[in-house]
């Protein structure tokens, strides 16, 4: 048989490619469930990572049972649109940790695409947004975790910001990226950079909600974080994505803060003998691995 003929070559390569494609498709499909599970688990630990920064005493160990911890700490998880209205509910896994629903980065990307369209002038799309909101109760403190997503230098970057009950102060931040430059842009995922966000706040009165810029260009230090030197594009992209996402979370955050304020006033007016909120849930159950920092 002439293995060098044109017909043979074409048929051979066609069969080979179809065969290989079939094998890969089969493997990819059969492993998909497991892979999605991993992505979900990672998202949950990031969410917890951001929320737990609100309380110094709570740190999560690498291999802790994040599902159980999440189910214990979460109060509510739902979607809001750009007008601040609740448009959907996520399962918090209180009954069964296997049912926990979170929004992974691929879903964040879809929302980011809608946000970009709104920015381009299609204002009516704001009501079609479904942006996730996670409300945690960390040792009696209400912490709202919201994501942000955007394009970095080499690929997508995303993060989770833990917002105080006042609707603007940042209690914690966790960022991640697909493939920013190691040692430069990749530093956004490091703890020292995330720590800089603590105590900063969103500018709710108009203008830029939040900026990441070099120290000399910062005009409102309470609403800004110093950029990473050598990683201008990643830093700017991060600032832009936080700014953009926070802009569409603003209606919800403002509403939630006002409601919280009203509630707090009502409570302090009516019952002067109420117990301090943080004494309610201070001790974590033994089966959950929680480290208490010295």
């Amino acid at each position: 048989m002439n293995t060098n003929g044109n017909t043979y070559t074409v048929i051979y390569s066609t069969i080979l490619v179809v065969l290989v494609a079939a094998i890969l498709a089969f493997v990819a499909m059969s492993l998909q469930g497991k892979q999605n599970e991993n992505v979900k688990l990672e998202t949950i630990s990031k969410l917890l990572g951001a929320a737990s920064q609100a309380d110094e005493s709570l740190t999560i160990e690498g291999d802790a049972d994040v599902l159980a911890l999440y189910a214990e700490k979460i109060e509510d998880a739902f979607y809001v649109n750009g007008l601040g209205e609740k448009v959907g509910q996520m399962n918090t896994g209180k009954e069964n940790v296997k049912d926990i629903q979170v929004t992974t980065t691929s879903d964040l990307k879809k929302q980011n695409d809608i946000i970009k369209k709104i920015e381009d002038g299609q204002n009516d799309l704001a009501s079609t947004l479904a942006m996730p909101v996670y409300v945690f109760n960390i040792n009696g403190k209400d912490v709202t975790v919201i994501p942000c997503y955007g394009a970095g230098l080499w690929g997508p970057i995303w993060g989770y910001l833990a917002i105080n009950a006042d609707g603007k102060t940042i209690d914690g931040a966790v960022f991640d990226h697909k493939g920013e430059t190691p040692g430069l842009g990749a530093k956004i995922a490091d703890a020292p950079f995330c720590k800089e966000f603590h105590g900063k706040s969103f500018n709710m009165d108009g203008g830029e909600v939040f900026t990441v810029a070099k120290a000399s260009a910062i005009t409102e230090p309470e609403h800004s974080v110093d950029a990473i030197s050598g990683a201008t594009i990643t830093s700017q992209a991060l600032g832009k994505s936080i700014n953009l996402w926070a802009k569409y979370y603003k209606p919800y955050l403002a509403g939630a803060a006002a409601a919280h304020q009203a509630e707090a006033t009502a409570v302090s007016d009516s019952t002067m003998t109420c117990t301090p909120a943080d004494s309610v849930k201070t001790t974590a159950p033994a089966e959950v691995k929680v480290n208490v920092e010295e």
Binding site: N4, T9, Y12, S13, V17, V20, L31, N38
Partner: protein, 207 residues
């Protein structure tokens, strides 16, 4: 070609004909994934599996492959194995696959894999080819693990993430070497390994 010395096929790539230190192939990934032992071991295992299986499959197909598209067919076989390994890692060793990131996918471009198919698998029966692939992968993996051992213990004071250098050393003023985490030091370590090997094996030295 009929008499194959199996011992030679298996042992030569580990030391005397090591693909990394003698043939100087696969340097890029050995600099990139040797910061920690865990990543290096998984990478080594992945490369062993990929070189072994792709040599095996290529050897089975060797008499049917049209000569003109030989390299493309080899590439298809190698990529199949690499993607399989990548998918399995993503499903069962997610955190490791995140640290290895693109480097698992880049095994496709690791010259050792293609080199062994071209040089050995296309001219030999499947079983010797499988052994040759496995042995070459192991030779590569060995260097990876040795480099990672020094980089992790000197750079982070740990092995497999466990603390090896006691806290008392740090209290006495010892510091982890931050430079060794960076790729240039991996290249220097690799150079030292080549140096040691050539001083033992005099016949490798160029006149």
């Amino acid at each position: 070609m009929s008499d194959i010395n199996y011992k030679e096929v298996l042992l030569k790539p580990i030391f005397k004909g090591n693909p990394v230190t003698v043939l100087v192939l696969g340097i890029c990934s050995s600099l990139a994934v040797t910061v920690q032992m865990e990543g290096a071991c998984v990478m080594a295992l992945s490369v062993i599996i990929v070189t072994g299986l792709s040599s095996f499959v290529a050897s089975i197909l060797r008499n049917t492959i049209p000569n003109r598209i030989r390299i493309i067919v080899q590439l298809v076989v190698v990529s199949l194995m690499v993607i399989l390994v990548d998918q399995i890692l993503k499903a069962y060793a997610y955190s490791v696959s995140k640290t290895l990131s693109v480097y698992v996918g880049l095994i496709i471009t690791n010259c050792i894999v293609m080199g062994r198919i071209e040089a050995f698998a296309l001219g030999n029966k499947p079983i010797p080819s499988l052994l040759d692939g496995l042995a070459n992968g192991a030779g590569y993996g060995l260097i990876l693990v040795v480099v990672a051992f020094f980089r992790e213990i000197l750079g982070s004071g740990t092995l497999f993430g466990m603390r090896i250098i006691p806290q008392s050393f740090y209290d006495a003023g010892y510091m982890d070497n931050g430079l060794i985490i960076l790729p240039p030091m991996a290249l220097i370590l690799l150079g030292i390994i080549v140096w040691i090997q050539r001083s033992i094996q005099k016949d490798l030295q160029e006149k």
